[in-house]
């Protein structure tokens, strides 16, 4: 999936299987990603588990779990708030669109989480105070934590190499971990579809094109669109909402210059 980290880095990752997204003293979020096509390196989120840890007189420990075709509007124990404690309503689940869009407000840690099912797969977005992000007992012993540290290098997919490949299908594929481009979706069609929903050619737009080319599934257009919409709602600095890829000299240009 595509990841926008707490530090506004944008990555496209493989991260197949279960990975921690967030892990601090208050909250633990884990995602499970599965390949979108047999043999493809591109994966999408099929399961999401959020654990709100027991906190003072506010909330009991609560677990939220969403899977493909199952986006509940309640915690695993059937409740919709933080339990029986005095401040239980400082944790609340709100169903925005049945089976498609859920918002979880955790006021006691100033955190908002949005979970959606778009097409078959899940999307996740969070707004969290820096203080909470950094509230960890022992930073050194903390494992990989995608929202904070991003994906490991060996799990990242080279977006630009993939795109160059897609734009010039006759050129031999670059030696990169890019997934194979299926021949079901022409590049021009993918660009047109994504432009309709995402007029700014930022990384959300690029992600959209990538997803259409790798899967042929037009639902991913909406996934990118909603990810940007969630960013609009949750990002504190509207000037940093759109992210753009850094320019890189193509090998041909380097050769010509030489």
């Amino acid at each position: 999936p595509h990841l926008r980290t707490f530090t506004d880095h944008f990555q496209t990752c493989k991260v197949q299987g279960a990975w921690p997204l967030i892990d601090n003293n208050y909250l633990n979020v884990q995602v499970t990603n599965t390949p979108v096509l047999p043999g493809s390196a591109a994966t999408a989120t099929s399961k999401l588990t959020i654990i709100f840890k027991n906190f003072q007189e506010c909330v009991d420990q609560k677990v939220y779990q969403a899977e493909m075709d199952e986006l509940p509007s309640a915690f695993a124990d059937g409740s919709k708030n933080g339990g029986d404690k005095h401040g239980a309503n400082s944790l609340k689940i709100t169903e925005k669109v049945s089976g498609q869009h859920v918002e979880i407000q955790a006021k006691y840690i100033g955190t908002t989480i949005v979970v959606r099912q778009v097409g078959r797969y899940l999307t996740f977005a969070v707004r969290m105070p820096e203080e909470v992000v950094n509230a960890v007992e022992d930073r050194d012993s903390q494992g990989l934590y995608l929202c904070l540290r991003g994906c490991p290098l060996n799990q990242q997919i080279d977006f630009q190499a993939f795109r160059a490949n897609a734009e010039s299908p006759r050129r031999p594929a670059a030696a990169s971990p890019s997934p194979v481009v299926p021949e079901t979706f022409p590049y021009e069609t993918a660009v047109a579809k994504c432009k309709e929903k995402l007029p700014v050619e930022d990384l959300y737009y690029q992600a959209c094109v990538f997803d259409l080319l790798t899967t042929g599934d037009v639902n991913f257009t909406l996934a990118a669109y909603y990810a940007l919409e969630d960013g609009k709602m949750l990002h504190s600095n509207k000037d940093k909402l759109h992210l753009f890829e850094r320019t890189r000299e193509l090998p041909g240009a380097v050769a010509a210059a030489a």
Binding site: L21, T123, A125, P129, D230, S236
Partner: protein
């Protein structure tokens, strides 16, 4: 870490928490703050890394300064508090301030910095 107990006792003692007391109630409020401070000191060691503990300590200092409370003086005894009935689905108006991040953690300092993380697509 027993900061929860300290918070509850302070809330019980004052009823209004950290809301400004009427001028007649200031001595009683100061006494409650001194008790609260004493309680936090007792639990300081085990609460060393606890965000709520540090917020409480700063909050107490600010409130003592605002109400000109002396550090030495009488302390108060906590009052018995009546909880609202279980199953109340509405927002409880007397929900502890600690359960509202923006009110409790940053009442006396600048607005918190928020960060965003998102995961989508394939």
């Amino acid at each position: 870490c027993k900061i929860l107990k300290c918070n509850s006792e302070f809330w019980s003692a004052t009823s209004s928490g950290s809301h400004a007391p009427a001028s007649d109630d200031v001595p009683e409020f100061c006494a409650a703050l001194r008790t609260y401070a004493l309680c936090t000191r007792r639990t300081a060691r085990t609460c060393r890394g606890d965000l709520a503990y540090h917020s409480a300590v700063h909050g107490i200092e600010d409130l003592m300064s605002q109400h000109n409370c002396s550090k030495d003086g009488p302390t108060s005894q906590p009052r018995v508090r009546t909880l609202p009935p279980a199953g109340d689905s509405q927002e409880r108006s007397d929900s502890p301030e600690i359960c509202h991040y923006e009110k409790s953690f940053h009442k006396h300092s600048a607005a918190p910095n928020y960060t965003h993380c998102g995961l989508f697509g394939d």
